[in-house]
């Protein structure tokens, strides 16, 4: 078997995934903090103030990456949920549900920082603008997924129900993306393009790209940590969880653990 395929199968084993997440979540957090430290330092102290907005434009260095993450994470959650529904892979159920809380966190940051920026620039904390309203609906969808997952006692049935909501909710993502094009919106249109042609000055872009990378790395750390917590919750009572709680993580069980993931896929 190809090593990558074998690794993928091993990852489906709960004890193997626990070890994987415990190892890589801290690494991801540390990398995120290092990149974020540079991004924030450059955003706050290096980049010149905007000629119209003054220093308030520095808010966009956390607002824009968070807004992109709010959409990206929802799409990823729906992708995992679709895989979980089609192939009944338990790990994908766990990962889909682990996406919801960090996604909601990024959406909350987007709305709050946008509101704080809007007060001095637009003269109001909030406007029922298409972009703002659809982003608020996205936050409610995240809350819906989290609420539905925790409202049903059976973990697998709960993940399937909440996953279905995530898949249906994907229809909102293009509406958010193109709301500034389709409707007459107070929110500005696209300013930054990864393919070139950004309307921002080049000197203002490096911290933004650093923050985009940092938020991605942070999300990976958060996803692994939350998936690990849910994995332990689902596996409560198993021997490997017991050994882990007593400070003796399971070792040398890969072959047996790999076999257990086949059972996990059973409907």
């Amino acid at each position: 078997m190809h090593p990558l395929v074998r690794w993928f199968h091993q990852l489906g084993s709960p004890p193997y995934f626990d070890r994987f997440a415990a190892r890589w979540a801290p690494v991801s957090y540390v990398l995120a903090l290092v990149v974020m430290a540079y991004g924030l330092w450059a955003a706050l102290f290096q980049v010149p103030a905007d000629y119209q907005q003054g220093d308030s434009f520095r808010i966009l260095y956390i607002h824009v990456p968070s807004a992109w993450m709010s959409l990206f994470v929802f799409g990823l959650m729906a992708f995992y949920a679709a895989i979980a529904l089609i192939w009944r892979i338990k790990l994908c159920e766990i990962l889909a549900m682990a996406c919801a809380a960090p996604g909601a966190a990024f959406t909350l940051i987007t709305l709050a920082t946008g509101s704080i920026w809007g007060k001095p620039m637009w003269g109001t904390w909030w406007d029922w603008d298409p972009r703002l309203t659809t982003e608020l609906i996205l936050l409610f969808l995240y809350f819906g997924v989290i609420g539905l997952y925790n409202a049903i006692e059976d973990r697998r049935a709960a993940a399937r129900a909440a996953g279905l909501l995530a898949i249906v909710g994907v229809a909102l993502l293009p509406v958010i993306r193109y709301s500034v094009v389709w409707w007459n919106s107070l929110h500005q249109g696209q300013t930054i393009s990864l393919m070139g042609g950004s309307k921002m000055d080049d000197s203002m872009l490096p911290p933004l790209f650093a923050m985009i990378v940092a938020t991605k790395l942070w999300f990976i750390g958060s996803l692994l940590a939350r998936a690990r917590a849910d994995n332990l919750r689902r596996e409560a009572g198993k021997d490997w969880v017991l050994r882990l709680s007593q400070g003796t993580p399971s070792q040398g069980r890969q072959s047996k653990d790999t076999l257990t993931q086949v059972k996990d896929r059973a409907p």
Partner: protein, 61 residues
């Protein structure tokens, strides 16, 4: 710095929400491991070979 209070407020929201996002799963993991430990302790007490976990009962002779 112009609009200093707004910039500080926005970055404060960013850090508070990320701090919650960092702490919340750690609390969940610690809770699950603690629950597993307690479950194991209860199981061990139930299966103690000398029956020391049994309630003592005095019977009238």
């Amino acid at each position: 710095m112009s609009y200093q209070n707004y910039v500080i407020a926005a970055y404060a929201v960013f850090f508070v929400v990320l701090a919650w996002d960092f702490v919340a799963p750690r609390i969940g993991i610690a809770r699950e491991l603690r629950a597993a430990k307690l479950r194991a302790a209860r199981k061990q007490a139930r299966t103690a070979p000398d029956g020391s976990n049994e309630l003592s009962r005095q019977t009238a002779e």
